[in-house]
Symmetry: D2
Subunit: 205 residues, 4 copies
């Protein structure tokens, strides 16, 4: 799995950052200060986090390029409806021409791993055979397993990210989506350290 | 594929239907009449359809129980974010105990169909082998193909249904989701014939 | 203020209610039972409430006709984005022809009340004078105060209603929207007593 | 009315812009190229606009500080639910301490303008009298007219902006929200000229 921060909210060219703050945190602070007709102040973020005024965190967005997650993980991710997704379509991809890779869970080890890899080969063989028999890609993909790797770009605002961290960084969450959001969290904390403050995030959890 | 109408918006016990109209259409008419301080009138629906005042159609919702669609189709369906989904989880299902079925596209026929069914057997064998080797269900499911049948309940309002009909009843849409929304359309037209009027729906298309 | 339940989710004609349950609660139970491939059981609702599985409560919707709230209250209500609104337009209403009423807060009493009512008269006089001078209704309404009564129809699902009850039944909420949601709560509890269980609702608060 | 671009989506520090493109347009192009496994190319934007693949335009967001619109205009703006708003609260503002200004429509001229300004004085006097009589700010504001100026910050993605331009730049739209979105359009076109291409925008209209 690769998770890359592709883009995020930054200040307009003529707007200065709040002293000592990143651009993303500054956007949140400016929104709060407008609301209260008060001078921008970094403490405003902590104040809103503590009081549960979470709507101000919707003003900053983060866009990620994700490569190499399973279709199983994708299905979980896209259940979060307050986000935007651009996903590589299996329907139009002819996997006899493009390489296709597969995620292998850590719990599948030793002999089970050999069994698993042999099956993955069978799936690819069957896909090729169906295509050779004239089955269109959109139907040949019916044999592709949940393990099939997929790529996507998604955009989410900071409020929804906080909500996802709460649900998906929980020890009961599935390992793959937990890893995805752990990486996402590290990427956004660097750009908006006040918004995604460690202490506040832990309280959430 | 089975698509059943489980529930839909109806009038409160003490509200009479607009004469000659179904309960669902009456709800839309009442909303419009409130907005314009005018007497309820069935023609109001046609008027709103023609003028593009589509928000009034958000007041009526329809809930469907869907059984036997592929995971591929599920992934397409759940991309529609203005809806509510309750989906059977593959993560907690142990398919060595519960039966699992698979969708077979019509384009996979003759020898290809034999090849396809043999592969489906291989997938089930591999799932069982992995479970026997101690792999948990949430990871064993990585071998389940996109063809795996799934069940779900979803709820959508009439405005979003109209939007889906436009996109998914198009000849370029994938056959399985086209069939799903064709059945959905027949079910909702019976309950809200003015809202989902044939003429208006065709104009949309 | 008048709040009337206009419509709500009911079972399709051929679906029986879960024994001992209302139609709305039955819809939630059916959605849960589908998800777990288990027999419908009224306890499923309590189970989901306690575990925080709130998405199943999105399957039932309630539609209200509200008459006689202030524009101030309307502005607060429509900030809840997960709902559908049909609002009487001030822009097209000519209030020299239609009666216009005004909300009077309880805190405005005694002499202040006389002062208030005199001002309301001034506002209506000014509206009429502007209309007489040829100002169109959409601009004459600029003099209408926040107290101006308005009518609307809104639809919200049970999950979002629970969220609104938490925010708007709080003692710190404004009195008018608190009264609105107190009435809404009484109306929905009658139709979905398990979903809006007193105990669970209090825990939320 | 003042409309200022406060922030918008920009590329992450280590991502180069697509040659000849702004940062915002580059984000859209990267999302599309990921989806099709194709090399980033400025023509991809026109292609998506023409084919109606609008979801890719959800990846870029724009945040505006708006000062001096009427409450009437605010009510229209916030009906767009696919956006984030941080609005100055009238409920907690004591307008005996902070200055309050009022929008005056162009149609109110000559003698009507004198009548209008006299009424605005009456509204302010009444507000002060009510406050002096002990009425709390949240209830005293009931006398404030729709003309009362308000400030807010809002964030919207490019897809929803296109939708608003279609509705709100229409000659039938109210003059104040038309002016608001005309300024918004000029601001975003500069940052994302391919996404908000003049030709495409006109076709939409």
């Amino acid at each position: 799995m690769e998770v890359e921060l592709l883009a995020h909210t930054g200040l307009a060219a003529d707007m200065p950052a709040v002293p000592g703050c990143t651009e993303a945190d500054s956007v949140v602070i400016y929104a709060i200060s407008q609301c209260y007709r008060a001078r921008p102040n970094p403490n405003m973020i902590r104040h809103c986090l503590e009081r549960g005024h979470h709507s101000v965190f919707e003003h900053i967005h983060f866009t990620f390029a994700v490569r190499g997650i399973s279709r199983a993980c994708l299905a979980q991710l896209t259940r979060h409806r307050l986000a935007s997704y651009t996903v590589e379509s299996q329907r139009y991809c002819d996997y006899t021409k493009k390489p296709v890779d597969f995620v292998q869970p850590d719990t599948i080890a030793g002999e089970a791993a050999e069994r698993y890899r042999a099956f993955i080969e069978q799936a690819q063989d069957c896909y090729r055979d169906l295509r050779a028999a004239g089955v269109p890609p959109e139907d040949a993909r019916f044999v592709l397993p949940q393990a099939t790797m997929t790529n996507l770009v998604f955009t989410m605002n900071a409020r929804e990210l906080m909500h996802c961290f709460k649900l998906r960084l929980d020890p009961h969450a599935q390992w793959e989506i937990r890893e995805l959001f752990a990486r996402v969290r590290d990427l956004v904390r660097e750009r908006a350290p006040l918004t995604f403050a460690a202490r506040a995030a832990e309280e959430e959890l």
